[in-house]
């Protein structure tokens, strides 16, 4: 587990991505975790790259190699400010030491962080290194970069040093540089990479044991983020219209689709606000196009009313909600799972929507496709929840996973021939909202089709769309619309369409219940617990509406006690589970985390110990809420 730390603007993101790709090409499974502040330049940023010959599914516990580039934008504007706000220059080193595992390796750029600065600080590096058996390699990365190219190429020098210290081949890194750069820039970077590699080899005694493992893939791999997978799922399901407004972390999906859709004959619109963004998606869909929009918490709040309009007019639309820590502006670049209730219930009236929370890259792709399919078949909004963690984390996936047929079917839409045969009202309007539609969705016409005229209205309406406050019509229309959720649940419950993931032995004594992006971390904790002899299994839930009542009930029935793991302060998913199931309260304990950092497996393991033994300590930064009546 390699962590590269610096300031925003120091090239941390691109460097780590190439490093991860090089490891993937070398035959390893990789996983990245991104940590960054809400600012353009400077601040404490890092990316972790975890690589192993065996599958990796989370960021893991701590890390063992720190490349502290130093923050080239750091400055303490006033003398004495460092005693109040901390020394900005030293943060890439100081802020990362707490999570560094025993026996770990530290490389820092002594071109930026000289010995004097480190000694003057209260870091106590030498003593801590001795206590933790850390191996420290100060290197003048800045000097190397300046000598052979430009200062910004410090990160390349850092990668060269890393490769030398981990006994890693430079071939894949060089290939990737050649793909991304040309001319003098490429030459300088290659020179710096090799010089850094050689100078470490020549000048240092390598005292640590850590080496890059060797691995092999059976087939071609691709490195993919959750945002990529959401966007690609949308493309393959025929989405050719996106409207949005920038907001972290939703911007990733918005950017990817804005770049690709016009090339694929589609339309991308950046508009004045999120009210407009969602309304445009509704308008495009009404006119017959498969459309999506999305945002993060604050922007999604603005979408509430158009979301309700889509429910009432039964206009299919897919929305992405990329959560970040709230309330209000919250912590813009930090993950949290605290928008669940907001997403389920926002907008006036009873909710009639599909909500999925995929857990990883593969699920992002599959569930975005499912969201489109269901939205257009059942004519309702479908929301895919991701978060800042899932949005930016990169994982390798078999390329063949994406080798699938596209499906651009617009769902329950009639042809002009079918419209001609269909029921019409005396006014001449087509009966687009018929009470007796079996699965709840009454087929629609598209403006421009002959004799398909109807009125779509946010007011309650009759079958042809006229505004009506008749009690019998009202009940018939409400019942029909709500019937869609029952139909969808039945469809999803067919075994091969379940989005829930079970992990661990079926007959386990204890259960871990998790939703969305924390799932794979919990699964890793299940492995650790199993190794320690515990009898535990986990269920990762993706379907939040309609809720998989039977599947979760069966799971809870089978265990003695359960720990619900989620990233928010009010146990929203536990609350949803209790509301949907109406029982199991005494079995549902909560482990919560809302400090801006996703769970690490060890925290789940320690949290689990608490349901087995009341005396067990709860890991710092998390909160344990016992089951009702406990």
């Amino acid at each position: 587990m390699w962590r590269i730390a610096g300031g925003s603007g120091d090239g941390i993101d691109s460097t780590s991505q190439n490093f991860a790709k090089a490891l993937m090409r070398a035959g390893l499974d990789v996983f990245t975790h991104r940590h960054y502040p809400s600012r353009i330049r400077g601040g404490h940023t890092y990316v972790e790259v975890r690589a192993d010959a065996d599958p990796v599914r989370s960021r893991g516990d701590g890390f063992n190699f720190l490349l502290a580039l130093g923050d080239s934008f750091a400055r303490n504007p006033q003398e004495g400010a460092d005693t109040v706000y901390g020394n900005e220059e030293i943060k890439p080193l100081s802020e990362n030491l707490d999570d560094l595992n025993e026996g770990g390796v530290i490389v820092y750029d002594e071109g930026l962080l000289d010995e004097e600065t480190i000694e003057r600080s209260d870091l106590d590096l030498q003593a801590r290194a001795e206590a933790n058996d850390w191996h420290v390699y100060p290197l003048d990365l800045r000097g190397l970069a300046r000598e052979h190219g430009r200062e910004v190429m410090r990160n390349t020098a850092g990668v060269g040093a890393t490769a030398a210290l981990l006994d890693m081949d430079l071939d894949h890194i060089e290939d990737l540089m050649e793909d991304a750069m040309t001319g003098d820039v490429l030459e300088a970077n290659l020179e710096i990479l090799e010089r850094a590699y050689d100078s470490v080899r020549e000048d240092y005694d390598i005292t640590h044991d850590l080496r890059v493992p060797t691995g092999d893939h059976d087939e071609q791999q691709v490195l993919m983020s959750g945002s990529n997978a959401v966007a690609y799922g949308a493309i393959d399901e025929g989405c050719r219209f996106i409207s949005g407004y920038p907001m972290t972390p939703w911007t990733d999906v918005f950017t990817i689709l804005s770049q690709h859709l016009p090339k694929f004959g589609g339309i991308a619109e950046q508009v004045e606000d999120e009210i407009a963004a969602a309304s445009l998606a509704v308008g495009a869909s009404h006119a017959g196009v498969k459309a999506m929009s999305g945002s993060s918490g604050g922007g999604f709040a603005l979408m509430s009313e158009p979301l309700g309009l889509a429910e009432m007019t039964e206009t299919p639309v897919v929305l992405i909600e990329a959560m970040r820590a709230g309330p209000s502006t919250g912590m813009p670049t930090k993950p949290e799972q605290a928008d669940l209730e907001h997403i389920l219930y926002t907008s006036q009236g009873d909710s009639c929507r599909v909500v999925f929370a995929p857990a990883n890259v593969r699920e992002c792709y599959q569930q975005t496709r499912a969201a489109f399919r269901l939205a257009y078949e059942y004519q309702l909004p479908a929301i895919v929840i991701i978060d800042q963690k899932l949005s930016g984390e990169m994982r390798n996936v078999d390329e063949s996973f994406f080798d699938r047929e596209p499906n651009a079917d617009p769902g329950s839409v009639l042809t002009e021939d079918e419209i001609r045969e269909a029921a019409h009202h005396e006014s001449g309007k087509f009966k687009r909202y018929q009470h007796d539609a079996e699965n709840g969705a009454s087929p629609r016409s598209i403006p421009g089709q002959k004799d398909g005229r109807f009125l779509a209205s946010g007011n309650e309406h009759t079958p042809e769309g006229h505004i009506s406050e008749s009690p019998t019509n009202r009940v018939a229309q409400m019942d029909r619309r709500m019937r869609k959720l029952t139909s969808i649940r039945e469809e999803l419950d067919e075994a091969d369409r379940s989005h829930q993931t079970h992990y661990g032995p079926e007959d386990a004594e204890y259960g871990l219940l998790v939703w969305g992006s924390q799932q794979d971390t919990v699964f890793e904790a299940v492995d650790q617990l199993a190794d320690a002899g515990e009898s535990v299994k986990a269920l990762g839930v993706s379907d939040l509406m309609p809720y998989p009542v039977q599947e979760v009930a069966d799971f809870l029935e089978s265990v003695d006690s359960c720990l619900v793991v989620e990233m928010n302060a009010s146990a929203q998913f536990r609350g949803l589970t209790q509301k949907e199931l109406g029982r199991f309260g005494p079995k549902l304990n909560s482990l919560l985390k809302y400090n801006g950092e996703p769970f690490e497996p060890y925290e789940v393991v320690e949290g689990f110990e608490r349901i087995v033994s009341r005396d067990a300590a709860i890991p710092e930064g998390t909160k344990f809420v016992p089951a009702a009546g406990d």
Partner: protein, 311 residues
């Protein structure tokens, strides 16, 4: 044959086609100016050669929003202030549609003001009719964005301290390429202006004065009115932005002094519509996107074609 056979259909069109086969009783009060908009629109449509099946009328909320209930076409009665984003996306999705948006002065100049500014700025090829009665009617007579300064209502018991919005000046500054004002009491001019607005290739904004006999009894019935094109007091070039701005300013000010000035205020036929701009930069397909979904022979790209970036 197109999957949308109503679009571009070449046939005689009767104005009765725009009246529902069985007409519902309108919720508008007797003497309401909204009837004038409905009538003018029904008269204009056959003249521009568009049929009900190829027309999408998107309305907001309020008495004006009911227009889509009494006008026979594809209709979308949306939410308060949001008719424009719904309408403009439908136009992008299927440029073959005749898209008309309508709402009141509160809907368009108040709650939906941001969308008004940006839709005008983008210059979509569509028509926007704002029923301007200087009052919130359906909610029973509150002060609206175009109510005169000093207007007293239950929500402004001491009289509004605000200057009213200047709809045409705002429209011009935002980027509309056709701006006119007409009045329900002036049916012939209203019809002609709607014809021009619908035929205009760009964002056409019509500020339509609609008297509210119930909640705005004090207000003029917008008579007598003067057509600025026929007035000797007004001699300006509607294609000249500066002259248009002056004329609008005059008309907006004098409305509150009891003088009703109507007519065309700004026409820019040169500026390309948003669709044309987007097609020129290849950010929008040449063929209507909506057709692709209903055509049997459409080919669809796959994300698998993008995977080489990720190897």
């Amino acid at each position: 044959m197109s999957v949308f056979s109503a679009i571009g259909e070449d046939r005689e069109i009767d104005r009765d086609e725009f009246t529902p086969g069985i007409e519902p009783q309108a919720t508008w009060c007797p003497g309401c100016g909204d009837f004038g908009v409905l009538k003018a629109l029904k008269q204009a449509m056959p003249e521009v050669g568009r049929t009900p099946d190829e027309t999408l009328l998107v309305t907001g909320i309020g008495c004006s929003g009911k227009l889509s209930s009494y006008f026979e076409s594809y209709g979308f009665h949306s939410i308060h202030g949001r008719s424009l984003p719904v309408a403009r996306a439908a136009k992008l999705a299927n440029p073959g549609l005749e898209v008309i948006a309508a709402g009141g002065d509160g809907d368009g100049y108040g709650i939906g003001g941001n969308h008004f500014m940006h839709t005008a700025r983008e210059n979509h090829d569509m028509t926007y009719i704002v029923f301007n009665n200087e009052i919130f009617g359906l909610t029973k007579g509150q002060t609206s964005p175009t109510s005169p300064k000093g207007h007293k209502s239950k929500t402004q018991p001491h009289g509004s301290a605000k200057d009213p919005v200047r709809p045409m000046s705002l429209s011009l500054a935002s980027g509309s390429s056709y701006i006119a004002r007409t009045a329900a009491v002036n049916p012939n001019q209203a019809k002609d202006i709607l014809i021009e607005a619908i035929e205009h290739d760009g964002f056409a904004h019509v500020d339509f004065l609609t008297q509210c006999p119930t909640w705005n009894k004090d207000a003029k019935q917008y008579v007598p009115y003067t057509d600025v094109q026929d007035s000797d007091d007004f001699d300006f070039d509607v294609t000249d932005r500066r002259e248009a701005a002056d004329a609008m300013y005059e008309a907006e000010s004098r409305l509150y002094e009891g003088e009703v000035l109507t007519g065309r205020f700004y026409v820019d036929s040169e500026r390309p519509s948003y669709g044309a701009e987007k097609r020129a930069t290849e950010e929008m397909p040449e063929e209507p996107l909506a057709e692709r979904y209903l055509s049997d022979d459409s080919e669809w790209e796959r994300s698998a074609d993008l995977l080489h970036h990720h190897r």
